[in-house]
Symmetry: C2
Subunit: 338 residues, 2 copies
């Protein structure tokens, strides 16, 4: 077996890379939510001063990276590579945001699991001695996503009670081979899991089996259980998918009191009309960078699992009545003090 693997699916970093900076930007609805005060930048304008929603999302990625580099005390030229992806067709938010940055670019896509995949790959590039400093970036925008995946916003279509609300948010994380900050110690890349859910207004249910599969693999490979962690944060199963995942884990006799979900944390369930919770690649990226990493850096959490989940459908696959494949990548983050 490869020297840095534990069990079938998990990778252990030999020299755990350090999260030296993080940054984000969020929209008005996100600013009005429970984490509103914790974002680096918010705007009441859904266009963020740009002319189109797509250009807004490009701006968002640039600003999230700017804030992350600022916090890390690094310049963009110090990045050895950048891993980025988003929900727009052909991931244009990411590639267009990287124009002019002069940094080697790796495009990644596993829908809302993109931040976990980016963190995992960046960590291994550093751990393996292939880079000294790398960034993982992602974003989503409610308006660009609604138009692309569902229907034009002016149509005013009614949302199903199981539907989640695509977050308008971007997040960026800077990893370095050495430094002060939380560390990425283990990575479990997930398999494609498809239990046959075809309802694209219930993506939490479609992704919950993938989260269960990857978490089970992680616990098996590392011989740990949920209660060994301060927090297990999926993203973005929302309230419904989160409940399904907890039921799966409980059937295996595992405690789930410390399991939560980025889609549940970003919005206020009672005060904000988001139905089953938040979603979008930017949702887990924003919660990671506004809530989880600061608390890890402050010593409030010692060890958490960040498990972004993605629903790998497209409007065409839905029209062709395909079921929805899910994927979940698990990242073990340990606090600065440990």
């Amino acid at each position: 077996m490869a020297k840095n693997r534990i069990g079938r699916q998990t990778i252990a970093c030999a020299a755990p890379p350090v999260v030296i900076g993080w940054g984000n930007l969020a929209g008005l609805k996100e600013q009005q939510g429970p984490l509103g005060e914790q974002f680096d930048e918010t705007d009441i304008d859904p266009y963020f001063g740009e002319e189109t929603w797509e250009q807004a999302e490009i701006y968002m990625q640039r600003r999230a990276l700017h804030h992350a580099l600022h916090r890390a005390g690094r310049r963009v030229e110090e990045l050895d590579c950048m891993l980025a992806g988003d929900l727009l067709n052909q991931c244009i938010s990411s590639s267009f945001a990287a124009r002019g940055s002069d940094v080697p670019f790796l495009g990644i896509y596993t829908a809302c699991a993109t931040m976990s995949q980016g963190l995992g790959l960046a960590a291994l590039l550093l751990d393996g001695g292939y880079a000294d400093c790398a960034a993982a970036v992602t974003s989503s925008h409610f308006c660009s996503a609604e138009r692309q995946y569902r229907m034009p916003l002016p149509y005013g279509g009614q949302r199903a009670p199981t539907a989640q609300w695509t977050a308008t948010a971007a997040g960026a994380v800077i990893l370095a081979a050495a430094g002060q900050g939380p560390r990425i110690t283990q990575v479990t890349f997930g398999k494609i899991v498809d239990w046959g859910i075809t309802d694209q207004t219930n993506m939490g249910a479609a992704m919950a089996p993938a989260a269960y599969d990857s978490l089970s693999a992680y616990f098996r490979d590392t011989e740990t259980k949920p209660t060994d962690f301060d927090l297990i944060v999926t993203g973005d199963l929302g309230h419904l998918g989160g409940k399904i995942l907890r039921e799966f884990l409980e059937k295996d006799g595992l405690g789930t009191s410390n399991c939560t979900d980025c889609g549940m944390l970003l919005f206020d369930k009672e005060a904000q009309d988001v139905h089953a919770g938040g979603s979008g690649a930017g949702c887990s990226a924003a919660v990671l960078t506004a809530e989880l990493l600061p608390k890890l850096a402050a010593g409030e959490y010692k060890k958490i699992l960040f498990c972004a989940t993605g629903a790998l459908l497209s409007p065409i696959s839905a029209q062709q009545k395909e079921s929805i494949p899910g994927v979940c990548h698990v990242i073990c983050l340990e606090g600065a003090e440990i």
Copy 2:
């Protein structure tokens, strides 16, 4: 500097991973081209027996992987991870093809540079001791791509003389930490390069600056020149973009007699009506697996650079009059004997 880097942008594998298998599948037009006899599987049916072009592309990826695993003498369960991407919105060919495979899945996207990116990342995952066996897979389909990027096929729109023909082809490569076969020795991940080309019917011109940028970085970092290699194969600049790249290199005083392009190799310029050549993520993957890897394995080539290039536009970005960012990842492949 990170221990496995040479210069600013290039990575040298400490224990170069081995290409132990490769496989492909192509459509009728590709079968009628110069490499027609070298494909593992071809079909006169553009649907490959499926009901939609998207399902056909899913089938194509599965079969390419099947042929590659067969040649490698490995079972799919022996793969520690699979890196895959394609041109369809949300990369559904890749994620749907991986359903049921029980292999950790990493979605990647840099358009027609996807095979280079997949090879490069897979090589580093093996070199770093994070995996023992990995696959890189990609595909494109003329019909699904035309409908999505340009116009419905039955509309019969006329193609510009500078336009390239999206290949109907899929390719898969199996890498292992040890074994017999060509090896990946160096990787240069490219930057996003955008010189302001907005004509989406001339993607060769849009991507040529990216190929020039990445190749220049590689030559600078490794202190080599084009004539140190048996072949330098870009993909898919086509006839026009290939000419532009050669002009750039010649202005730097470099010889270009061994420079060619997957988009020039896949189709017969005179006999087949493909205008500026082939393109699509499957084009470079098919040429790599049907022509380049077999010749490396047979000792006919000793050292080549495989440099797939991607145009990172979308129909929306074109409608919004954005220019076309390009990217090119360079992979140095050395023959089995060296």
